[in-house]
Amino acid sequence: MLPELSREEILRYSRHLLVPEVGLDGQRKLKGSSVLVIGTGGLGSPVALYLAAAGVGRIGLVDYDVVDESNLQRQVIHGQSGVGRLKVESARERLLEINPHVQVDVWNEPFTSANALGIAAPFDILADGTDNFPTRYLTNDLCVLTGKPNVYGAVFRFDGQAGFFDARSGPCYRCIFPEPPPPGLVPSCADAGVLGILPGTIGTIQATETLKYLLGIGTSLSGRLLLYNALDMTFEYVRLKKNPKCKVCGPQPEVTALIDYDAFCGVPGVVHGEAPLASDLVVSAPELAGRLAGEDRPLLIDVREPHELAISSLPGAVNIPLGTLASRLSELDSARELVLFCKTGNRSARGLELLLSAGFRRVRHLQGGINAWARQVDPQLPVY
């Protein structure tokens, strides 16, 4: 039995009721539907906002982060007053402000193999708005194992991808991406940046695909991957097929339960018995400041991209972007002590591994990057 709409809801949704593909029955379907949105960041914001406005009866939100000022350029569900608050609480308030007729359930915890099945159980469909591979594979496998669709979106700088994976009738995420790229090959938005509007474009496509599924209308993106480029303003597609060798949705699946996705995705320190960088390979900002004030100064190597130097820089540092480091090793004196740094320490850690594997021994990297230097040593320097 579909739920009835109140007089207030009929007025609120009148522009939907006028669309024959939605109509009164469709709107009642939406009211009786539920969507779990994984992540309330750049993608999760538009997904949740539009689904709430559209009248999806129950919306679940999973996130464990707090709102940071640097989120507000794209995570439009949060506002200035939300900085420092739990994302799920900030998001829930905004959704209920937009539409008090929807139920919003929140989980302020990481989405993991341990809790994912329980959290997702009551929901009809999942929207993948996460920012990391382990949660993307977890969401996919969960959807395959429980027979739910997974509405996918991902963004990088000016590039976006969107897809609709329903393994009951088409390919799943693993059919196209059997394994994640090696850690570090595809930088995160925190390291590489993203056009603030881009997740808005991709997230609204995810919301559209979700609504179409709940209403049972139109042609979904199943079997196609949308590739959007904001710089060229191009929407292109590639065709996806079910992979008969798929480890989760193929005829002979190897993955029959949720696994340890951090290990699968090679999160540093977890996979292949790889040890995290030893403490003698990192230098704190205050310690580095002391060394730079002394006689035997290490040479600073800034592995950020050249355009980042305009935001903040350290005097005397040599700029060798991480992507070019391997081809510029001959410029470095392996006898001299080197300290690598980047924005937060991710890229410099990879640069450090590269130098160590190339035989450099007197090399460390700045813990927390130049942002840590700005917080702990030089408050005049901006944090970004």
Partner: protein, 90 residues
Amino acid sequence: MPILKVPTPLCSYTAGKAEIRVQAATAGAAMRDLVRQYPALQVHLYNSRGELRSFVNLFLGEVNVRDLQGLETPLNDGDTLRLVPAVAGG
């Protein structure tokens, strides 16, 4: 010559170039020529046994070469191959 379109995340290894002309008669040869021109990509695209890593998705037009003849898929002059990466950002 066929063109190989490289996704933005990999452009930091190709001096910013998104479209690389490759000297190749097959999809596999195109990948090898890409790595010959930009050796920094080798470690990312190939495993230690010299095999293309399985996250690498190569499309000829709209079709995954997996659904054609894999790395043996023949290329014609003017064909466009596209590397489609897994992207995590959200």
